[in-house]
Every structure is written in C-alpha cells, then in structure tokens.
C-alpha cells in the first residue's frame, strides 16, 4: 500500500446527547479538518450502522456532505455493523491508495439514545443469525455464551473478569469525552444486576451517541497508516470453529501485521473492542498480544493499565468511553493518533511509536485491525 497519513482527527463527547446525528458528525468532521489544516477534501466516507432505524436518516453520505457545505464532494457510506467506523477508515485508505482521492475525510457516528432500550436492542440483534435470533438470542446472550466458554476453558472467575471494567472506567475517568467518567470497584461490578448470566450490567457497554472523524492524506504527516486488515466469519455462532477465540480478529490481525511489516511485539498501545468486557482478553489473545489463556495475567499484573508495559484501552474502551456503534471503530483510531502524538492528556501513555486498534462487527463476523505508526 502506498504511504497514507492521518493529517487530523476529531471526536465529540460520547454519551446521552441532545445533538442530532448530522450535528454530531459535523462537529467531529470540523475538528478533524481544523486539526489537519485542510478545508477541501476529494472524498467523504461516512461510517454508520443503522441510521435508517436509529434516527430515520437515509442516504446519509450525501445528506451529511450537504449539511457540511460540501454537497458536491464525492461521498459514500460504509457499513460493517458495529465496526463501521473502522470499515469507513479502511475504505478511505483504499480510495487514496487506488488514486481515487488524495485527501479524504472519514467520519463515523451513531445517535442511539432517541429510542427506548428494548428497541435499540432489537435493532442491534439484527446482526445475529436469523435462526439464532428466533431463539431469543441477543448480542449480550451470545456474548455471555462465549464468555462462559472462555472463562471455563481458562479457569477464570468472576473477580478476574470484573477487573477489566474497573481498569477501563479508571481510564475513562481521565478522558473528558467519555460517556462514563467515574471509577468503579470490583464490588460494584459483582453487585450489578445480571443481564445475561454470567455477564453483569457493568460488563456490558452503554448505549451512547457520538461521532469521530479523521482526515487522511497521501502527503507526508507524522502519523502513518502502517497496516489494515479485515477478517470475516460466520454470523451464526453455531457455525464457528471456536467459542473461545474470534477467527475474524485473528485473520484481520495477520493481514494488518503483514502489511505493516511488524508483529505483535511492536505494539505499544492498543484500543480493543470491549463492548462485552471479557472480550478484551479474547481480543488480546487473538491479536497475539498475549498467549491463549494468558491475557488475564497481563491484566492482573497491571501490564495493561495506563502505567503498564502494554496499555489497553487507555480511552476507557467501549465500556467507559461509550459505544455509539459506528463511531467506536474510528474513535479507537483517533485515540491511537492522540497517543502517538502525545496529546492524550491525563491518560497519555509513555511515548508510543506503534499503536493498534481492533474493532468487532456483529458478534465478530466483520472485524478490522488498524496499525498506526509515528515515523
């Protein structure tokens, strides 16, 4: 892939917000354009999972371009479920690599809190195989089935797993954009109500509004897109080879590392998809950041905390930063850019040069891994 650089980034506050989807997208986009020092772009790529149902907005890409005052700039939308933001980022990179554009604006967001929670859950459950959905399977239900299998295979107890949201809330408390900015304890996690046994409320990400944006360019800038990979898998859980790892992440990682010409050892900071917090451990193992069954050791020893050897989810992750679904994959990339540029404020990790973002689409049927480097 020809060299592609991140010229600028932006991100709104995540949470229960008043602003419309278009206003959120525009806020993030204007920040990214200003950060890049760019006014015009050749292409706009919009990531959104389901604006038709969440907000009633259709043909979102031209609608947004017009809202931004760029109605005549080529614009299209990318959808890979909950990883749509990372998918939009990859599509923009591909367009620049192919010569379709020299500078592109990527923006991704979702406005979810306008609907009641059962309705949001129903819309999200469309990512589940129809046969499994017929049995009442929801995203938390399938995630709970995976969590129980993983915990059993590696002898983890509820206290081990509860340390993940505790760490991510601690990071979120240092992120002024996070949905949740309060620390929690292991007792809070274990005392919260069961959503889908063994997953409790504090192990499941919130429903949020928000948007993130990035400007990509073929012109040299400090942060380079080193590698991108996608991995896909059966939507149906019953067709999966493994219940304790995600093949889609493993294959996305293999492709991204090959493109970047580095291995997992080069990664100094990572943002991973912890919509269900036990997935943070599975993701680390699938990414090669820990051996199978050993990610919990890194967590318990503090290696994945802000001060540790390999900080994971310094932003607070999807759990604490929030999860406006399509926004998350791009917000992870924005966080890595801030970390590489040393602009992450109270949650800055020590001078990383290589960072990785991993985003899960559906229950790991369309996953992306993006590796960024500071040259």
């Amino acid at each position: 892939m020809p060299a592609i650089y991140v010229a600028g980034v932006g991100c709104t506050r995540f949470g229960r917000l008043e602003a419309s989807l278009l206003a959120l997208l525009a806020e993030a986009a204007q920040q990214a354009l200003h950060d890049a020092g760019v006014e015009e772009v050749d292409l706009i790529v919009v990531g959104a999972m389901n604006p038709e149902e969440f907000t009633g907005d259709g043909t979102l890409a031209p609608l947004f371009a017009s809202f931004l005052g760029k109605a005549h700039t080529p614009a299209f939308r990318v959808e890979t479920g909950t990883s749509s933001g990372a998918g939009a980022f990859a599509a923009a990179c591909a367009a620049i690599a192919a010569g379709f554009a020299r500078t592109a604006l990527v923006v991704a967001g979702e406005k979810m809190t306008g609907l009641a929670t059962p309705r949001v859950a129903e819309i999200l459950s469309r990512m589940i195989d129809p046969t499994e959905r017929r049995y009442g399977a929801t995203m938390p239900a399938l995630a709970a089935i995976v969590t129980r299998a993983y915990a059993r295979a590696h002898h983890l107890d509820a206290k081990d797993l509860a340390m993940i949201p505790v760490k991510n809330h601690r990071n979120g408390a240092r992120n002024p954009l996070a949905h949740f900015q309060a620390e929690i304890t292991v007792e809070d996690v274990l005392g919260s109500r069961l959503i889908a046994d063994p997953l409790r409320l504090y192990e499941v990400c919130p429903i949020s509004d928000g948007a993130a944006a990035a400007v990509l360019t073929a012109e040299r800038r400090p942060v380079r897109v080193a590698g991108i990979g996608q991995g896909s898998d059966h939507v149906a859980l019953r067709h999966r080879r493994s219940l304790t790892s995600f093949r889609a992440t493993q294959e996305a990682a293999r492709r991204a590392y090959a493109m970047a010409g580095v291995g997992p050892r080069a990664v100094q900071v990572a943002e991973v998809h912890d919509a269900f917090t036990p997935f943070e451990l599975i993701n680390m193992e699938d990414l090669g950041l820990a051996e199978a069954g050993k990610a919990v050791r890194a967590l318990v020893k503090g290696e994945t905390s802000l001060e540790g050897r390999l900080p994971v989810n310094p932003s607070g992750g999807l759990k604490a930063r929030g999860h406006p679904v399509a926004a998350s994959g791009l917000a992870q990339i924005v966080e890595i850019v801030w970390q590489l540029r040393g602009e992450a404020g109270g949650r800055q990790v020590r001078e990383p040069r290589v960072g990785l973002a991993q985003s899960i689409g559906g229950l790991s049927s369309a996953n992306w891994v993006t590796i960024l480097a500071r040259d």
């Binding site: 059962p118 859950a121 129903e122 459950s125 046969t131 499994e132 017929r134 049995y135 009442g136 399977a137 929801t138 938390p140 239900a141 709970a144 089935i145 995976v146 129980r148 299998a149 059993r152 295979a153 590696h154 109500r193 069961l194 959503i195 889908a196 046994d197 063994p198 997953l199 059966h234 149906a236 859980l237 019953r238 067709h239 999966r240 219940l243 069954g293």
Partner: protein
C-alpha cells in the same frame, strides 16, 4: 410425559433433529441449502436428539415475546454439530458445561433437558445400535476436562 421418555424414546426410535450434510463433511442443524463452509449442496439428514452443553446463558433481559429468565444453550450434538436451543428455566441450577442433555421439539422450537445419571445409564443401554459412537462420546466427555490447561 417425562423428559426421560421423550429424549430416550426419540433416540431409540432413530428420530431426531433435522440436519443437512455436505460432501465436504460439514453438517448443520437446522438444515441449510448450501454448505456454510464450502458452498456445496447439502443433503437432508437426521441427528440423534442428544448432546452435551458447550456453553449457555440465562438471559435476564430477553427480547420482546420471551419471558425472563430465558435459558439458551449451544449444545454439541453427537457427531460434533453445534445447535442452539432453549432450556427449561426450572432446571437452570443443573446446567453445567459438558453436561449431557436430551433435546425435544415443541411447536418448532427445540428445548434441551438435563438428564440424571440414572437416565443417562438407561439411555446408554437402550441405544445398543449406536454403542460405538456412544462409548466414544462418553470417553470424550470424561477425558476432555482433565486434559484442559
């Protein structure tokens, strides 16, 4: 009708869960027209309505139309096919990964039931025709756990 008679009777009569089989060796339940692994055509097949719990959840916030708590399990049928089905709430305390279950259909929806040791022994002797497979399955479930890291 007791769960033992339903599960055991089904298996003894050779009726069970509709499935489909591909020339590549992939088996899916419920049946699919195309193989999810290779895309090839699939032929209809029937699997014994018995298996072991691979993993499960008790869903406390089920979607509209379902009552809480809703037990859902991924069951590994004999032969290795994974199958998603419902449980009976009152048995939830007996669910364990690796537990053998019988599966029955009610109005097009499949439910698994845990089996007591006595029921499993009774079933074992009634299924003489499939003895070899059954012995392998019992050995597998007996040895799998201690071998895990």
């Amino acid at each position: 009708m007791g769960e033992r008679d339903t599960g055991g009777g089904m298996a003894a009569r050779g009726t069970g869960i509709p499935a489909s089989r591909c020339a590549c060796g992939t088996v899916t339940a419920p049946p699919a027209p195309h193989c999810p692994e290779c895309g090839g055509p699939m032929a209809l097949d029937t699997l014994p309505a018995l298996g072991e719990i691979l993993s499960y959840t008790i869903l406390h916030s089920p979607p509209t139309g379902f009552a809480a708590p809703l037990p859902i399990a991924l069951v590994q049928l004999m032969g290795g096919v994974k199958f998603l089905c419902h449980g009976h709430g009152e048995q939830a305390g007996r669910y364990r990964i690796g537990r053998q279950v019988a599966i029955e259909e009610v109005d097009g929806i499949y439910y698994f039931s845990t089996m007591t040791l006595r029921e499993r022994i009774a079933l074992f002797w009634r299924r003489r025709g499939e003895m070899e497979e059954k012995v392998r399955s019992i050995l597998r479930s007996a040895f799998r756990r201690p071998r895990r890291p």
